[in-house]
């Protein structure tokens, strides 16, 4: 897969977020270097998805800074839509548009946000669908595809916008086991091609093989982060050791 890698980094600086009285993120400091893959793991409800969603402002931090490159996107007055057009996101449940065929799913934002003409948008979409291994399905409805194919369409939809950063929120958690591989393969290719990626995942093998760094979040705090080897082979924090015991 060839992509234009601009190596845009994402940095969270003292990010706090609460839902009502529940502290979801507590003074989170994290740097996701450009062109690298950062995997975020942790128990459910730990705040990892919320952290990811702060990177494209689907959640707005109550305090702290979220730097996309050099720009604090959480600052007041920032054009949220323009930020989001630079950051692709893939969801656990795909969220393809069920009323549109595969091709139109990918072209919609190209036409409405990038203001491409139909021909250009369709050419871009076909190229991205090809890159995720989905030639020939352009006229199908999402409901006619397998979960794995749907998720790859969702990845193509995000990639078509030519994002600088890709966010994956448990992208394989809703898939049948035999379909996980294909999606992870696409993500691995993307990582190799030098995309900046933040990946919330339960796939520890993927994290180990693909990530440049792995981050453990529990109860809204980052308890440990490091290289995959250090993270998985020599975890220091007792909570992480317990967590890894449970999932490995």
């Amino acid at each position: 897969m060839t992509i234009d890698t601009r190596g845009t980094s994402v940095r969270f600086e003292h990010v706090n977020k609460s839902f009502g009285r529940v502290d979801v993120l507590h003074d989170v400091v994290l740097s996701a270097p450009g062109g690298m893959t950062t995997c975020i793991v942790g128990p459910s409800g730990s705040g990892k998805s919320t952290l990811l969603r702060c990177a494209n402002l689907l959640e707005r931090p109550e305090s702290g800074r979220v730097l996309l490159g050099d720009v604090d996107i959480a600052a007041p007055g920032v054009n949220v839509d323009a930020v989001r057009a630079r950051v692709g996101m893939v969801f656990q449940h795909f969220h393809l548009y069920p009323h549109l065929c595969v091709l139109d799913n990918v072209t919609l934002a190209l036409r409405k946000v990038r203001a491409m003409d139909l021909e250009q948008a369709q050419a871009t979409a076909r190229a991205k669908l090809g890159a995720v291994g989905l030639n020939g399905l352009e006229s199908r409805r999402p409901a006619d595809l397998s979960g794995g194919q749907q998720q790859r369409v969702a990845i193509a939809r995000a990639l078509a916008m030519d994002p600088e950063v890709m966010l994956f929120d448990e992208a394989t958690s809703a898939l049948d086991p035999e379909l996980v591989k294909g999606v992870l393969a696409v993500m691995r290719d993307l990582s190799k091609a030098g995309m900046t990626m933040l990946v919330v995942t339960h796939e520890m093998r993927f994290a180990r093989e693909v990530a440049s760094q792995v981050v453990f979040i529990d109860k809204g705090r980052i308890l440990e982060q490091g290289s995959p080897d250090a993270f998985f082979d020599a975890p220091r924090h007792p909570r992480l050791r317990h967590f890894l015991d449970q999932v490995l």
Partner: protein
């Protein structure tokens, strides 16, 4: 017993009177009814979509006026609303349609219906999953773009059956235009039937009009249901062809 049935038959189903009323109902009334229904529906749907979007707005300044609009127009007797628009507007110096009763009637019925359409659309829009909105917004689409291209197409299609019910009410509500006074050629189906019923001291012309209403509304229900089924299970659409 037989005498009673005979009375009923003569009062409501007198073939001669029905046959006598039908030509005028079809030639004059039907086009007027259809025209009024079409105008009122267009106004009702356009405004209804707009108000439904407002009902879902997070801004109180947008949400509350829309809420009030729906509550008032649904709560007032329709006859009063028709008078308020049809006679009130000209009295207030807003002779939007000059002396044309039709314009006021279409506007009044359209406004009434827009309140009902708005609630139907709101329910449909709310049934679209939050994830659809997030998917759209995450690609940089604005709130309005997400509304137009993701929520409305999905939400509107889910409420086709209740929309059909509302269309039927629009068709029948056009009879309220008589309140504003009509010339002979302006009369819609019900007004013609009513005049004929009074002239003949017999209700059969109303039955004639009723038959034509049924001929309009029943096929409409079936057509929309068939369309609804096709949208739910039908063949995949082809991608939009290049222009």
């Amino acid at each position: 017993m037989l005498e009673g049935l005979h009375q009923i038959f003569n009062t409501f189903f007198n073939p001669g009177l029905i046959a006598h009323a039908l030509p005028e109902i079809l030639a004059v009334g039907l086009p007027n009814t259809l025209l009024l229904s079409a105008f009122a529906s267009v106004i009702g749907i356009m405004l209804g979509l707009f108000v439904a979007a407002g009902l879902l707005s997070g801004h109180r300044g947008v949400h509350l006026p829309c809420r009030g609009y729906v509550d008032i127009l649904r709560g007032l007797p329709h006859i009063l609303t028709v008078y308020l628009i049809g006679q009130g507007l000209p009295l207030a110096g807003l002779s939007l349609f000059g002396g044309n009763t039709y314009g006021y009637a279409a506007l009044a019925i359209g406004l009434i219906e827009s309140a009902y359409f708005a609630e139907i659309f709101r329910a449909g829009f709310q049934s679209v999953e939050r994830g659809q909105v997030e998917a759209g917004r995450s690609t940089g689409m604005s709130q309005l773009q997400v509304m137009l291209h993701i929520i409305i197409p999905q939400g509107a299609r889910r409420v086709l059956p209740p929309l059909t019910g509302q269309f039927i009410l629009v068709v029948k509500a056009t009879s309220l235009v008589y309140l504003l006074g009509l010339t002979a050629s302006q009369r819609e189906m019900f007004a013609i039937a009513q005049d004929s019923a009074i002239n003949n001291a017999n209700l059969s012309p109303l039955t004639a009009a009723g038959l034509v209403y049924l001929a309009l509304t029943v096929p409409m229900t079936y057509a929309v249901n068939a369309w609804d089924r096709r949208l739910r299970s039908g063949p995949s659409p082809r991608p939009i062809e290049a222009d």
